[in-house]
């Protein structure tokens, strides 16, 4: 797993502890192949993930990253690809 994936899992656990994401995510296993639905992430949760990914990558990530990618791993890979310098 990438550093970015580990960082986003850490943010998910923090947001779960704060009550913004489902409480079971504080301790549950979070794998790259899990979908947002399997994680119990709703529209508020997607906002939390989106802002966390933007903060971690210093990069704007459009909402489409969440509709096009099915799994958390795919979302993180897409965010990492966007964050890579292209010029």
């Amino acid at each position: 797993m990438s550093d970015l994936f580990d960082s986003i899992v850490s943010r998910i656990r923090e947001d779960a502890a704060a009550g913004l994401l489902p409480g079971h995510l504080q301790t549950a296993s979070i794998e790259p192949g899990m979908t947002l639905a399997e994680l119990g992430v709703d529209s508020l949760g997607r906002l939390a993930l989106l802002t966390a990914l933007m903060d971690l990558t210093d990069q704007y990530i459009p909402d489409t990253a969440f509709t096009e990618a099915q799994t958390l791993g795919a979302i993180v890979d897409q965010a990492a690809a966007m964050a890579r310098p292209s010029s």
């Binding site: 704060a18 009550g19 913004l20 529209s43 508020l44 906002l47 939390a48 802002t51 704007y60």
Partner: protein, 348 residues
């Protein structure tokens, strides 16, 4: 480019957010002792001022104490705001506890503030559709509003309306038991935090009544000077501070995420307003670009962070002297927004 060096006026490109954050990282180190000292001190001052305002002292003292209590609500709020950004101490759980305590006098539900401020406002500053703070309407949107709503918008942006805007559009609609569609969903913690501030308000009212009874003062006066007037001062201060930091002819708003992202929003969507006394009274909240760049810098290090930021990005950080004239010029020029041409407009 060596961002560790304080002299960067010769750079020919704007530093990235990552570079700037790396340069300011040493300042993002909170001290639990400093945090607890400020919280205890400000809470004690607020309690003392509220007690004076609620008891049988001459009217002049009551009024003075009441106005100062409003200011101290704002100071406590700023400590809670740091906690919510995890900037107050290095301990996440402690921050959540201290933040909730510091937010009580302003009746701010912590988790909803975290959602609307940390995620929506800081994540997407001045991007319409995401940031929900003082979002300007386009002329077409304004024209399509019903008459009463157009009138309310005019009051909000009249220069006298920041408190009303904060009370209605942010506190009532998005913080205090908001409808799920106003904040994007429902969470148990939102209701719990709403109940917490409601219980505190009841305790506050009970305390004022008891203080009035003990000192032989009127209960209505105690509520007026011990709660209502401080709350009025607080809401106006809050509405004003968020207005002046993100509304200005040279501060752009966006309705397109890609254009917003390309505009260096980490520097261009807020201003450094210079007003030393107000800045000191409000725990350095006027060092706003540094705060927006890195929310984890505690308030007592923001001035140093802002100085460093201005040395690193002198052409990108916008600095203004906050004065009566500045405020009213902004109020006159910034009523509506032309998102296509990215410029502020007056009412036609």
């Amino acid at each position: 480019m060596n961002l560790a060096a304080p002299h960067s006026a010769s750079v020919d490109r704007a530093p990235t957010r990552r570079e700037l954050r790396a340069a300011l990282a040493p300042l993002a180190s909170p001290s639990t002792a400093v945090a607890l000292t400020w919280l205890t001190l400000d809470a004690a001052v607020w309690l003392a001022l509220t007690a004076v305002a609620a008891t049988a002292v001459p009217w002049g003292w009551k009024l003075l104490a009441s106005l100062a209590a409003g200011l101290w609500i704002a100071r406590l709020f700023i400590i809670g705001h740091d906690a919510c950004h995890q900037a107050l101490t290095a301990h996440r759980r402690l921050n959540r506890v201290l933040g909730r305590i510091a937010f009580l006098p302003s009746l701010t539900p912590y988790s909803l503030w975290e959602l609307g401020h940390n995620q929506a406002h800081h994540g997407f500053t001045n991007l319409r559709g995401r940031d929900g703070v003082w979002v300007p309407l386009s002329p077409q949107e304004f024209a399509a509003l019903p008459t009463h709503r157009r009138w309310l918008e005019r009051v909000y942006r009249s220069g006298w309306g920041p408190g009303l805007y904060y009370a209605i559009e942010l506190w009532w609609k998005k913080l205090y038991f908001p409808r799920p569609d106003q904040v994007g969903g429902r969470r148990a913690v939102f209701a719990q935090d709403g109940a917490l501030v409601t219980a505190f308000a009841a305790l506050w009212l009970g305390g004022l009544w008891a203080a009035a009874a003990w000192s032989g003062s009127s209960a209505a006066e105690a509520v007026l000077f011990g709660l209502a007037l401080p709350m009025l001062v607080w809401k106006n201060l809050m509405g004003f501070v968020i207005y002046v930091h993100h509304t200005e002819p040279d501060v752009a708003w966006y309705d397109d995420g890609a254009a917003w992202a390309a505009s260096m929003p980490y520097l261009g969507t807020t201003l450094h307003l210079q007003a030393p006394v107000l800045d000191l009274l409000l725990h350095r909240i006027l060092q706003h670009p540094a705060h927006h760049l890195d929310m984890t810098i505690p308030f007592y290090r923001l001035k140093a962070a802002q100085q460093r930021l201005q040395a690193l990005a002198p052409r990108q950080v916008q600095v203004r002297r906050l004065s009566w004239n500045h405020y009213w010029q902004v109020v006159r020029q910034c009523k509506l927004y032309d998102y296509g041409n990215r410029r502020w407009l007056g009412y036609a």
